[in-house]
């Protein structure tokens, strides 16, 4: 197998060397929505029209990160990146290939956005054509798998993962090596590996981006996991609202199968592994592992109490390893380069890098990957380019509906699991929403509470009833009808729902309220006592009417 991979790599490199120019067009969802497909087609035609097809290839690639400037086009030979490209721009770009890059379209690449990132999960994003397994292989893909299968025992694979210090990227941050060990140790011949690609946090789109841009690394990560824990069947549970990710994933699975990297004998060894896709219907709670498992089993997607954890009693009652997309995507480089290498990145308790989706009041909305421990300051003001128009960043929301708002004054804190927690927020899956002075914190809390209320599965009492009560109280506050007793009751409810709910959704639903109360209590008080919304978002004068114009940040998130 190793020879086969080397051969493919050689052929790919040969083929690429035939071309003087490679024009990469981002065809991931962000850019597609702003017309990337048409741009790519036009570029192809233009190349043909200019008779350059022997020298220039036009290639669809995954997300380049700076989605806000999409459609993005990159000319590798000229080290030129173009943003907001239209069909009309294509003759100029092709025309410039043998002369000079088109300056008016250029997006500067010497900026912190590109320089400060450390791309491991995203190493191939925007570089390879996600629909071709050959390009993944040429980029070193599947070599880790072959090494593991031929030279390492399953225990050694787990050792590397443990040594890497990788923690789950799905939100909980549970040590991945530990989880793998538990599943590996669980008795029984039938075990499963599940990749959680349900990504339901509003404002998060990292997993989608990885699946669209580099699906093979997730597959490779899953096969490695299967080998390590002793499973022969994997499932990717992906939300149905991600058609492109699903399409790329399907294609990748069948390519891997044809290549002999999936199937009864993986890479010509006695180890067999298959992957099937299961589509989620879009309920946020289906991302919770036990609900996800119920959903795969064809039951109503609702969580059940843990223990038993899926590692002991999971899909169809069998030991099941469930990891997030990004967690799996980190595995191939860890196996290729060793756990120690990975552990050298990041902080003491949070190793490696983390992918974030930047959204809200920030110049460079898009996908970034930074080493753990990078400060929020650096992410927002340098990599993210700050608030558009040079405004003040009022707070950064991390962790979506389970997370909290970190105010401006604390932005110098490093981003890692523990410090975010100590600030009253969580890492979450990597959504990061930047808010400026036009955001009202009561409104933000209310927005997330409404989200939890509608997404509550209704199984347990505190979340089913409590989220509605908390939402109604927040609504009362935001419309100026509340008293200080209401506020006290709200805090009481937060405590109750946090402590008694069955699953993470309910347990964390109060977080946005708790954290905004912690840092922005005065805003609540202003609504209650002065009947005033400091940000001017909440409509207080008409005391009965509900707010109908959410703030800038919230509207952004809701997309």
């Amino acid at each position: 197998m190793r020879e086969k991979l080397a051969e493919i790599k050689a052929i790919e490199e040969d083929a690429k060397a035939q071309y003087t120019h490679t024009v990469n067009v981002c065809t991931a969802a962000g850019c597609l929505s702003s017309g990337a497909a048409q741009v790519k087609e036009a570029l192809g035609k233009e190349v043909e029209r200019s008779g350059l097809e022997r020298w220039c290839q036009v290639k669809g690639v995954g997300c380049l990160g700076l989605c806000t400037a999409g459609p993005l086009v990159e000319v590798e030979s000229q080290s030129a990146m173009y943003g907001h490209v239209t069909v009309e721009d294509t003759p100029a770009i092709v025309g410039g290939l043998n002369t000079k890059p088109v300056e008016r379209l250029r997006v500067p690449t010497g900026t912190p956005f590109f320089l400060r990132q450390n791309r491991i999960v995203l190493e191939n994003s925007g570089r390879i054509d996600p629909e071709r397994i050959e390009e993944y292989i040429a980029a070193g893909g599947y070599s880790g798998l072959v090494t593991a299968l031929t030279e390492m025992t399953p225990a050694q694979v787990i050792d590397e993962v443990t040594a890497s210090g990788l923690r789950g990227r799905g939100g909980g941050g549970y040590p991945t090596g530990l989880k793998w060990t538990t599943v590996a140790k669980a008795p029984g011949p039938d075990k499963y590996v599940i990749c959680n690609a349900d990504e339901g946090d509003p404002g998060a789109f990292m997993d989608r981006s990885v699946l669209e841009s580099d699906p093979h690394r997730v597959i490779e990560g899953m096969i490695l996991a299967g080998y390590a824990v002793g499973a022969s069947q994997g499932y990717v549970y992906v939300r149905a609202e991600y058609p492109l990710a699903i399409e790329h994933l399907k294609k990748a699975i069948s390519q891997a199968r044809r290549m002999g990297l999936l199937g009864r004998s993986v890479a010509e060894t006695t180890f067999g592994f298959n992957i099937d896709i299961r589509l989620g219907a879009g309920a946020f709670v289906c991302g919770e592992e036990t609900a996800l498992i119920a959903s795969i089993e064809g039951k109503r997607g609702q969580p059940r109490p843990r223990p038993p954890y899926p590692a002991e009693y999971g899909l169809w009652g069998k030991p099941t390893l469930i990891n997030n997309v990004e967690s799996f995507a980190n595995i191939p480089p860890i196996i290729r380069n060793g756990g120690e290498w990975y552990a050298s990145l990041g902080t003491e308790k949070s190793k490696g890098t983390k992918v974030f989706a930047l959204a809200g009041a920030i110049t460079n909305t898009g996908i970034i990957e930074v080493p753990m421990g990078t400060s929020l300051q650096e992410i927002v003001y340098e990599i993210g380019g700050g608030v558009p128009g040079g405004g003040r960043c009022k707070a950064v929301q991390t962790g979506g509906p389970s997370g909290g708002c970190i105010p401006d004054a604390y932005l110098d804190n490093p981003v890692d699991y523990d410090s975010l927690r100590s600030l009253g927020s969580i890492m979450g899956s990597g959504g990061m929403i930047v808010m400026d002075d036009s955001s009202c914190m009561v409104d933000v809390a209310k927005y997330f509470m409404e989200f939890c209320m509608t997404e509550s599965c209704g199984k347990c009492v505190p979340c089913r009833v409590g989220t509605v009560q908390m939402y109604r109280l927040l609504d009362k506050i935001s419309t100026g009808r509340a008293t200080l007793e209401d506020l006290a009751l709200l805090e009481n409810l937060c405590d109750m729902v946090q402590n008694t709910s069955l699953c993470g959704l309910g347990q964390t639903a109060p977080n946005p309220v708790v954290s905004t109360l912690r840092y922005f209590r005065d805003e609540y008080i202003a609504h209650i006592e002065e009947k005033r919304c400091p940000a001017g978002v909440c409509k207080i004068h008409s005391s009965v009417a509900q707010t109908d114009s959410p703030s800038y940040a919230v509207a952004e998130v809701a997309q």
Partner: protein, 854 residues
């Protein structure tokens, strides 16, 4: 078993089995933890969050749900901290927030856990003043159960019961979040045969009993521990009565019998007890009319008439029919009267001597049970032959499903219909009625071919076995029996491989002249595959076993002694102070076919079984009928005696596992002059010159213990409210292999279909039919046809047809069913207005044709 773990709950040391949940461990220590969703018979779901307790841990104490957390060594638990109290109170507040609190008009009022817990743990008044959620109230989820979604606290108990026990997920959650409601699926009513159990386990008044709605208030009723009278499972129940009427029936726990479940027939069909048309006074035929008379006149008449017939035609011209629906005492009294006072063995009951039964019933019901944390089934394979527990013995059906689903037991099914239990994908052996013995020979032949798992004694006769069963080859199986030979092989292999298989057959499988051959065929198979100790015949009626035990059989004395057994004869002649008749008596069928001149019928209605029998009854010199209702048979009687039924008089019943159980008097009929069957018989005995002095049922039980050694010591007191099984070991006989043959009925061009009949749960029988509210679920006068035959005959669902045999004809409507095998026509017994007996006329195997009604 692993060692117990020790933990501390509220400072008390508790020792608990590993894996036990904290709620259960707390109960051991007498510490109450409030619960709504947790139920000892259901898997934990942890959704109501009422049971939160504090558990000490390395990082401080944590709130956890006691109903989902298993005990662990050294665990320290607190159930009464301020934090726990606060959480309980807040949680109740949440629950009450959407609860209508219509206690005064709620059937649960007075026995409602929500009411109770609000008193004990709840908030004074709720701080949360938001509007309540409005949902559907009083919404039928079936003809028997009403759902009030506003009262529902979404505890999932009903959902879990239907999933975990019934394996029929007929209720589910709909919508999400605060809009979540319980509802039926796709508009289909809940039709699981034991659906009513969800009423018992619902912690609030969200599920209520249609039949008993508003008929009782829990604090007003009198409660009597009893057993159900509708089938031979003998489920333990509680009868709630008030002012002499049965208000409702609920399940009562007996871990040897029914766990705590009962079926819908047992729960809902009780209107017959207080039926309007009950007989209340003796009736004597005068000038062709039945007219009310005094007891003495009626009994004098009977005594005189019996003596006259005996004088003229001899004792053998007199016969008595007992009843498997009636308790042991009365059946015992009946056979004693006719044996010792009249001097005849002409004593039998329906499905008595005409069915080739076995004396000892099921080894034990608990052997097939898989309760929540109780024992696993003690058998690994269950072979059902000609019995359909789903329709005939619903709680056995429930146990079997759970044994398969959760206990890993395997099922083999031989039945002319592809019955519901075939859904568990064990081998299904379809067969043509009339070819049972051939099928059994085929099975024996396949078993003889097994390399391992055969009984070592039986194996020495393998050559013989192979010779007798030569003809039952694959072709015979396929062509004659219409059984799949591959399924036969699979079944034989499973039986041989099984460590402990249970083989159960019912009356349908062994009725008529072929019965003994079929019984012997089953015994051969059981012996060869090593399961001879677990071959069981089960009758279907509440006291099928007891009627046999009491000797209501023409060839058996009480305790299953043969009429020729000198020991037994000596014992009984001494006890009864008489000389016993020596000749074998006539069976039920023989008596009704015209073998007697005088017939005494206690609780049976042969006239409605067969038109021909009705005619013959008209021609008798004397017909006495002791009954609850004026049945077809009673209408033809010379004397009709009003009897007290189940629940109106103390009685014991023996269920299908030989468990003798009490059904005490729970109601009185103030205006009625009806008397207990055994009391009527005692008076008659006295009129006939015998010295009978039975003061009450207990006196009879005492005598039964003397007459039948297997009943020794089974007194009313000893039975208690859980009953006692009689010991079958004395009745074990040495197994042997017997050659069996069955004459094949010839096919006929004119009558192309084979008639298949049997019992359905919701039939139109006298007892079930009395509960009018259940009319909607009663099976109508239908003939079931396979889709293939229906197509061939050009018939659609609901078509009116005439079904005829050489014996008679019936008007029915077509019901197309996948369960019915091609080549057969299925007509249940006891359908209202359509006695299938008209087609059978005494035969067991009959061929019919189905034609469009003119």
């Amino acid at each position: 078993m692993a060692d117990n773990v020790t933990l501390t709950i509220d400072g008390k040391q508790v020792s608990a089995a590993p894996g036990m949940l904290l709620v259960d461990a707390a109960e051991i220590a007498n510490i109450e933890i409030p619960v709504f969703c947790s139920h000892p018979k259901l898997d934990p779901v942890g959704c109501c969050r009422m049971c939160m307790v504090e558990i000490e841990g390395p990082r401080g104490s944590r709130l956890m749900t006691a109903c989902t957390t298993p005990v662990a060594e050294g665990m320290v638990v607190h159930t009464n901290t301020p934090q726990v109290a606060e959480v309980q109170e807040a949680n109740l507040g949440f629950i009450l927030l959407n609860h209508p609190l219509d206690c005064p008009i709620c059937d649960k009022g007075g026995e409602c856990p929500l009411q109770d817990q609000t008193m004990r743990f709840g908030p004074g008044i709720s701080q949360l003043v938001e509007p309540k959620r409005l949902k559907q109230k009083n919404y039928d989820i079936s003809d028997m159960i009403v759902l009030d979604q506003e009262r529902c606290v979404l505890c999932w108990r009903c959902i879990r019961y239907l999933e975990e026990w019934e394996d029929k997920p007929q209720l589910g959650l709909h919508n999400r979040g605060n809009e979540t409601v319980i509802d039926i699926q796709d508009g289909q009513p809940v039709d699981a045969k034991t659906s009513g159990n969800i009423i018992d386990i619902c912690p609030v008044g969200a599920l209520t009993n249609q039949i008993s709605r508003f008929a009782y208030r829990p604090w007003e009723v009198e409660r009597t521990a009893s057993v159900c009278n509708h089938c031979s499972v003998g489920c333990n129940i509680r009868v709630d009565t008030r002012t002499h009427t049965v208000r409702r029936i609920i399940g009562r726990e007996n871990m040897q019998v029914n766990d705590q479940w009962i079926c819908d027939k047992g729960r809902f069909a009780h209107a017959w007890v207080n039926g309007e048309n009950r007989l209340e006074t003796p009736l004597l035929r005068k000038n062709g009319e039945l007219v009310p008379v005094q007891w003495s006149e009626a009994l004098d008449f009977i005594a005189e008439k019996l003596q006259a017939v005996k004088q003229q035609h001899g004792a053998s011209a007199i016969g008595a029919i007992g009843s498997a629906k009636i308790g042991n005492e009365s059946n015992y009294a009946l056979q004693r009267l006719f044996r010792s006072v009249i001097g005849t063995n002409n004593i039998d009951h329906r499905d008595g001597a005409d069915v080739a039964g076995l004396a000892t019933g099921l080894p034990s019901l608990a052997g097939v049970m898989k309760p929540q944390y109780g024992p696993n089934p003690q058998v690994d394979t269950i072979f059902l032959f000609g019995i359909d527990p789903s329709e005939e013995l619903p709680i056995l059906d429930l146990h079997l499903k759970r044994a398969v689903k959760k206990g890993g037991a395997k099922l083999i099914i031989a039945h002319p219909r592809k019955i519901e239990l075939t859904r568990y994908n064990g081998p299904y052996l379809a067969y043509e009625p009339g070819t049972e013995a051939t099928l059994l020979n085929g099975l024996l032949r396949a078993a003889a071919g097994q390399k391992e798992g055969l009984n070592s004694t039986a194996v020495s006769h393998l050559a013989d076995v192979k010779k007798w069963t030569e003809e039952a080859d694959d072709r015979a199986l396929a062509d004659l029996c219409r059984t799949d030979p591959a399924a036969v092989k699979a079944a034989a292999a499973m039986l041989a491989k099984s460590e402990k298989a249970l083989i159960i057959y019912g009356p349908q499988a062994a009725r008529g002249s072929d019965g003994p051959a079929i019984r012997d065929g089953l015994a051969n198979l059981a012996f060869l595959t090593g399961h001879q100790d677990r071959l069981a015949f089960v009758g279907l009626e509440a006291n099928s076993q007891g009627a046999r035990d009491m000797g209501v059989l023409p060839d058996r004395l009480p305790g299953h002694a043969s009429i020729g057994s000198s020991d037994a004869v000596k014992r009984l002649e001494h006890l009864w102070e008489c000389k016993l008749p020596t000749a074998a008596g006539q069976s039920y069928k023989q008596m009704l076919d015209g073998g007697v001149k005088a017939l005494y019928v206690m609780g049976a209605d042969p006239a409605s079984e067969r038109p021909e029998w009705a005619e013959k009854l008209d021609g008798l010199d004397l017909l006495v009928v002791q009954e609850l209702y004026l049945t077809e048979t009673a209408k033809r009687a010379d004397v009709v005696l009003p009897a007290l039924g189940w629940s109106e008089t103390d009685a014991t019943f023996t269920n299908l596992e030989r468990r003798v159980q009490r059904a005490p008097k729970a109601v009185a009929l103030p205006q009625s002059r009806a008397a207990a069957d055994w009391a009527i018989l005692s008076h008659l005995a006295q009129k006939l010159g015998a010295k009978w002095h039975f003061a009450d049922a207990k006196a009879l039980e005492a005598e039964i213990g003397k007459a039948a050694p297997i009943y020794r010591g089974l007194t009313w007191e000893a039975l208690g409210d859980q009953g006692l099984q009689w010991d079958a070991s004395a009745l074990k006989s040495k197994p042997e292999l017997k050659e069996v043959r069955q004459k094949m009925a010839k096919g006929s061009k004119e009558y192309p279909l084979t008639l298949v009949t049997g019992t359905v749960l919701f039939d139109g029988g006298t007892l079930f039919g009395a509960t009018e509210k259940l009319d909607g679920v009663t099976v109508g006068p239908v003939v079931g046809l396979s889709p293939a035959d229906a197509t061939k005959l050009g018939l659609t669902e609901g078509a009116a047809v005439a079904v005829s045999s050489p014996e008679g004809s019936l008007s029915l409507t077509v019901h197309i069913s996948e369960q019915v095998q091609p080549g057969s026509a299925w007509i249940p017994e006891s359908l209202p207005g359509a006695p299938v007996g008209a087609l059978l006329n005494g035969s067991v195997v009959q061929r019919v044709k189905v034609e469009k009604a003119a």
